[in-house]
């Protein structure tokens, strides 16, 4: 299946390949399943407010929503779920529904409706990437779309007012984060050691919340206290998005092993050098016996010093 697949989506920032949740979901899934995806960062799009971003362009046509894009990739044999049992597949569907019902309204609110956040972070970011004059119109449209969605799904008639639902949606979102954290526990990914669709969705929703700098941050603070979810985001970012969103980085697990090996080698080298330094000092007659220099120097400096001394 070497057909060139092109994904059009919003660009990245704050260390993320994309700031838009749904685009992140698709990108993460593509990395997990090994699909060769060429990412095309778009900016001047009328499709944004209609919810059509991200879009996958294939030789047969256009596929638009994340769920449909994932189905399409699965049909092309790029499947990240092949090791899951039937029950785990059912659980995936259920947890994705939980994310969309409980977490998404709060994420939309934090990005698009909360005035401080919207005017200082979200609007300038999107407006800077959309050419004039659309930059005057599109962010406002997206904000109104988000508010609409929150009110229609959570607001209670006859008073469709945002204040009444704010407390409720943040409470639900915190509960949802707690549930996810409980489910993840101490394992590396949700279903064992290899990432799957659920990891892609969780990463897509949580990573922007985790990384983007906001003025009003109580949901972000709550997320930062759940260290296993933060660790999951960092792991995925570090191993799958290391070379940036444009290139295709090598498969994740191998990178993790290489890093681990490098780290162990470094630690071993340091401890060897520390021992050698200690021996040198003890044998040298001019120096007064004193405390081990390792306690004073930082390991990096010491290693540099030792390397300079040892190299011919």
């Amino acid at each position: 299946m070497a057909a060139p697949l092109e994904l059009s989506c919003w660009g990245g920032g704050w260390g993320l390949p994309s700031v838009h949740s749904e685009s992140l979901v698709v990108m993460a899934y593509a990395k997990f399943s090994g699909a060769p995806l060429k990412v095309n960062v778009i900016d001047n799009t009328w499709r944004g407010p209609r919810g059509d971003v991200p879009i996958l362009t294939t030789e047969d046509g256009i596929v638009s929503q994340p769920a449909k894009i994932l189905n399409f990739l699965r049909k092309q044999k790029y499947n990240a779920d092949c090791e899951l049992s039937a029950k785990q597949g059912a659980d995936t569907l259920a947890y994705i529904a939980l994310l969309e019902e409980k977490l998404l309204p709060a994420v939309l609110h934090t990005f698009w409706v909360e005035n401080d956040n919207y005017f200082t972070v979200t609007k300038p970011w999107f407006a800077s990437r959309i050419p004039f004059p659309l930059s005057l119109i599109l962010p406002g449209r997206m904000s109104r779309g988000a508010l609409n969605r929150i009110l229609l799904t959570r607001g209670e008639p006859p008073l469709y007012h945002i204040q009444e639902v704010e407390a409720q949606i943040y409470r639900d979102a915190k509960e949802c984060l707690n549930l996810l954290s409980n489910r993840l526990g101490t394992s590396q990914f949700f279903f064992g050691d290899t990432p799957s669709t659920l990891d892609a969705y969780v990463f897509g929703f949580l990573a922007p919340l985790y990384k983007v700098r906001f003025p009003k941050v109580h949901l972000q603070e709550h997320l930062k206290q759940l260290s296993n979810l933060c660790r999951l985001c960092d792991d995925i970012l570090g191993s799958y998005f290391r070379h940036g969103p444009m290139g295709i980085s090598p498969a994740g697990p191998e990178m993790i092993d290489v890093n681990l090996r490098k780290l162990t080698q470094l630690v071993n080298k340091e401890s060897n050098l520390i021992e050698k330094m200690d021996d040198n000092l003890r044998q040298s007659p001019q120096l007064l016996p004193r405390k081990l220099p390792t306690l004073k120097l930082t390991p990096a400096e010491e290693e540099n010093n030792s390397l300079q001394r040892l190299s011919p």
Partner: protein, 263 residues
């Protein structure tokens, strides 16, 4: 309800035991009630039966307007009114009855996730079928929804409700779906439920929980309601363990207790 009001209500709820004259209000069973409302009402009835709490079902034409949140069913207990399954479960828990106490944290998370799945997919699909599918909307829904009111109020209210539902569908991205795609989603949802249920009697093995009540409410209503086409019930009938599950709950909680008929 705001957070303060909720805390206040649950404090009050905790002090009184369940009264004998608790009532559940829904729309008129024969002529007015729609598929989605019937499913919700049945889910609440099943839940209360499972908790062994007596409740009388009363049908009123204006039940939707009486409800504090605009959704049926709602229960009137003592001097409090609570609507929808989620708040009712919490209210009943404040009174000391709970079906999910025996579950550990991970299982509780799963239960909540599956309840959201049912709400997200099954309920939305039911709403779509009733209001956005022209054939069903024209033949069945409009006639039923407006039946207690004189002309022209019946048409106005029906169109207003349809407009609201269509707006909601568009906001969540279901506006462009075709009926076939919606039925496929229903199939996926039923497959997930069937796989989770497996061969167990209830979703969390021996004891039923609110998830069982919710799933029973929706599936039973889908199976027994006559629509313009049978596609929706056919999708559910493909999964035999779900059919057995519905039958089991019906027999155990509704017929044995002498309730006899269900909607």
């Amino acid at each position: 309800m705001s957070l303060v009001a909720e805390a206040f209500v649950s404090q009050i709820a905790a002090t009184e035991p369940w009264p004998e004259n608790a009532t559940l209000y829904q729309q008129l069973r024969g002529e007015q009630i729609l598929l989605s409302d019937n499913a919700a009402s049945l889910a609440v009835q099943a839940f209360l039966q499972m908790c062994n709490l007596p409740v009388k079902v009363v049908c009123r034409a204006n039940a939707e307007y009486m409800s504090p949140s605009g959704k049926v069913p709602f229960i009137h207990v003592g001097n409090q009114v609570v609507s929808e399954l989620g708040p009712i479960v919490q209210f009943v828990k404040a009174k000391g009855h709970s079906l999910s106490d025996g579950l550990d944290e991970v299982q509780k998370a799963e239960m909540k996730a599956y309840m959201e799945l049912v709400n997200n997919m099954l309920l939305t699909a039911e709403l779509y079928l009733q209001w956005c599918d022209e054939a069903t909307a024209g033949e069945i829904t409009h006639a039923r929804y407006g039946s207690p009111y004189p002309w022209p109020l019946n048409h106005i209210l029906a169109y207003q409700k349809q407009w609201e539902v269509k707006r909601k569908m568009k906001a969540i991205g279901w506006g462009n779906k075709t009926l076939d795609q919606v039925l496929e989603d229903v199939d996926q949802c039923c497959q997930a439920l069937s796989q989770r249920l497996g061969t167990q009697p209830y979703f969390f093995n021996k004891q039923p929980t609110e998830l069982d009540a919710l799933v029973f409410g929706h599936l039973y209503t889908i199976l027994t309601t006559q629509l313009t086409s049978d596609e929706l019930s056919e999708k559910v009938k493909n999964y035999s363990n779900l059919l057995a599950f519905c039958r089991r709950i019906e027999q155990h909680y509704f017929e044995d207790r002498g309730k006899g008929r269900l909607s």
